[in-house]
């Protein structure tokens, strides 16, 4: 009992850090947390954007340029005066006077759709190829893994630019580019896991029972790696959003007036010193979505593991 009292987390100096850890721990244990963030802050407004968003995401008024968020007070005098925030634009406006909150809400549609579709497709392609490579081995394995090596060794941006130039900037191009880069990570991970599970006795036993390759892969190997795939997928959400942002920033992604989070950050980049909120607000949106996806993935992994289900 004395030992429990002595753990460093209970020392007075560590109290604040401890609180943060505890909050994260709570969020992990009670998945309603991340799910709530995801649903109420990001997904639901995105779906009902037409009713929820206070302004149009693409039409601004130049007289309302660079209005700060509502809690920022007016500052300075004369020509140096900066206006204070208003409740009219809760999160402020950008250089064109467009409401940032509305753009984030509409942007969630774009960013989350791109992330969901491309991660699903990349996972599908990568998992299938990884399973085939790991399970059958031999030349198929060599072929797939060399393709993975090529994908991983190519500079993603260059590759994306070439593809975008060939295909033209559009929603589909962004997804094709992301899938053709991200599938390789799934393939490599899944292959490794498959190799490990393939050598376990229950697979041999299933073969002795007369199970076909398809059955062994779908019933015995896949259920044992699905956790890893889910965790990887949730971790990739952030990277996909960032890649999409990078592509849009370079003009190879979504066309300009589209309210994508990455595009918004890119627009706010040069204003970071004078109007930080233009880049920071979509940044917070990315942060929230990535974090809640990670927490959700954590919880799902525990949930899908029968060993931990009843704990």
């Amino acid at each position: 009992m004395a030992n429990i009292a002595a753990i460093p987390g209970n020392l007075p100096g560590a109290r604040r850090v401890n609180g943060v850890w505890r909050a994260l721990g709570t969020a992990r244990r009670y998945p309603i947390f991340p799910v709530a963030i995801l649903l109420f802050v990001l997904v639901l407004p995105a779906i009902f954007a037409n009713w929820v968003a206070p302004h149009s995401p693409t039409v601004g008024s130049l007289s309302n340029r660079l209005v700060p968020p509502f809690w920022v007070a007016a500052e300075g005098e004369g020509i140096y005066a900066t206006p204070g925030g208003t409740t009219e634009h809760l999160l402020g406006t950008d250089k064109q006077g467009r409401d940032i909150l509305s753009r984030i809400i509409y942007g969630a549609r774009v960013s989350l759709t791109v992330a969901a579709i491309s991660i699903f497709l990349a996972g599908l392609v990568g998992t299938t190829l990884g399973l085939i490579a790991g399970y059958f081995g031999g030349n198929i394995d060599h072929l797939v893994m060399r393709a993975v090596d090529i994908c991983l060794s190519m500079p993603a941006i260059l590759f994306a630019l070439v593809l975008a130039v060939v295909l033209g900037p559009s929603f589909q191009t962004v997804i094709i580019v992301i899938v053709s880069i991200f599938w390789s990570r799934y393939a490599r991970l899944v292959r490794g896991e498959t190799l490990g599970i393939k050598s376990q006795d229950f697979v041999a036993r299933s073969r002795v029972a007369g199970a076909s390759n398809l059955r062994i892969i779908s019933r015995h190997i896949f259920p044992n790696i699905v956790n890893t795939i889910i965790v990887l997928a949730t971790l990739e959400v952030g990277q996909v959003i960032l890649l999409e942002a990078t592509l849009s920033f370079l003009g190879a992604g979504l066309p300009r007036p589209t309210p994508a989070w990455g595009l918004m950050i890119a627009n706010g980049r040069e204003l970071l010193v004078t109007a930080w909120w233009v880049a920071a607000m979509p940044g917070v949106a990315i942060l929230l979505s990535v974090m809640s996806m990670n927490l959700l993935g954590d919880w799902l992994r525990d949930r899908l593991d029968p060993k931990l289900r009843n704990v």
């Binding site: 060599h142 376990q200 006795d201 229950f202 041999a204 036993r205 299933s206 073969r207 002795v208 029972a209 007369g210 199970a211 076909s212 059955r215 019933r219 015995h220 259920p223 044992n224 029968p306 060993k307």
Partner: protein, 347 residues
């Protein structure tokens, strides 16, 4: 398939080959050691099993013993065609298995099953006990309805001493002994006639070992099973086997009835092995002669010439490094592969 019908798949009609259920002839399994980054080529072969011949009679238990790495498990896996043997024949009930296609082999799989050593890695952690046991039923289409499936799984669970309500539990909720029982139930689900028991009790506590061994014996009687019992524990093998085969470095060195082999072992390796069995009586233990082998087991990558045992053999003579001794019947039902065994004859 014609041979199968001739010898009779149903019942235990003792046709001329009915006596012998499984025959292994000159089985070889050489695993290639490859090198090269893109173009892989075999630079050497690990001779895990190198010319093994034996047979198993219907209804008997053949114990297969030997130290770690001598090829016992590989032999078992070759019989089940989990590995495609490099050479040799596996004849099961008159049917040659090595040449069968995957599809043909699948129908044969109903008749030969396996129980593995590790009760942890041999059960899929994501399937319930009921589904683990019932999978072969579905694979082979042995049940027609969900109720029949459930009934059969419940029956199998009872056969191995588990409760039917345990069908919905996951493997991690069982103890080691219970897991092994699930493994046994699964092997029984297709009503096989032959089961390879690959060290089924090695990973268990001694008290649980006895339970599982007794269970295996009961089931053998009830369902007319034939076992190939692979183990390294000589006392367990003595208990359960009718005959015992001793393996060393990919070769079988001696086969005899269990009492015969424990009473009068002919091969020097068998003698050394048996002298290592602990006797729970310090007085007898102190009196008996211990044969200590010098050196290590040679690598199966580069086995010694002639008799593979000769570098460690206490009675080796010059010819031992030149002549590869075949397994010969030196006494009735007593086979040995040693040129110095009495009754071996000329070499």
């Amino acid at each position: 398939m014609t041979t199968m019908t001739e010898t009779g798949t149903q019942g235990r009609a003792p046709a001329e080959s009915g006596e012998i259920l499984l025959e292994v002839k000159n089985l070889k399994m050489h695993f290639p050691v490859t090198a090269g980054i893109i173009f892989q080529r075999a630079v050497a072969h690990i001779k895990a099993v190198d010319g093994v011949s034996f047979f198993v009679r219907r209804g008997e238990t053949l114990g297969l013993v030997g130290e770690s790495g001598c090829g016992k498990t590989t032999t078992g896996r070759c019989i089940l065609q989990l590995y495609r043997p490099t050479d040799g024949q596996v004849i099961f009930d008159g049917q040659e298995l090595t040449g069968l296609s995957t599809r043909q082999m699948r129908t044969m799989r109903r008749r030969m099953q396996v129980i593995f050593q590790d009760p942890y890695s041999s059960l899929n952690p994501r399937m319930t006990a009921g589904n683990i046991i019932g999978e072969p039923l579905i694979v082979h289409g042995l049940v027609n309805s969900k109720d029949e499936y459930k009934d059969r799984v419940a029956e199998l669970l009872q056969n191995v001493g588990l409760n039917p309500y345990m069908a919905d539990r996951f493997p991690h909720e069982f103890s080691g002994g219970q897991r092994q029982r699930i493994g046994v139930a699964r092997a029984l689900s297709v009503d096989p006639s032959f089961i390879v028991c690959d060290e089924p009790v090695s990973a268990l506590d001694v008290s649980i070992q006895a339970q599982i061994v007794n269970l295996l014996e009961d089931l053998q009687e009830r369902f007319d099973l034939t076992y190939l019992f692979i183990a390294h524990d000589l006392s367990v093998v003595r208990h359960i086997s009718n005959r015992v085969a001793v393996m060393y470095l990919g070769h079988i060195v001696e086969i005899a009835d269990r009492n015969e082999i424990y009473r009068s072992p002919l091969h020097p390796y068998t003698r050394a092995l048996l002298s290592a069995v602990p006797i729970p009586d310090p007085i007898i233990d102190a009196q008996r002669e211990r044969i200590l082998l010098s050196g290590e087991v040679p690598s199966p990558l580069n086995p010694p010439s002639g008799c593979v045992f000769h570098p460690r053999c206490p009675i080796a003579i010059d010819s031992c490094s030149e002549v590869t001794p075949e397994l010969r019947e030196v006494d009735s039902n007593h086979w040995a592969a040693c040129i110095q065994a009495p009754g071996y004859g000329s070499y």
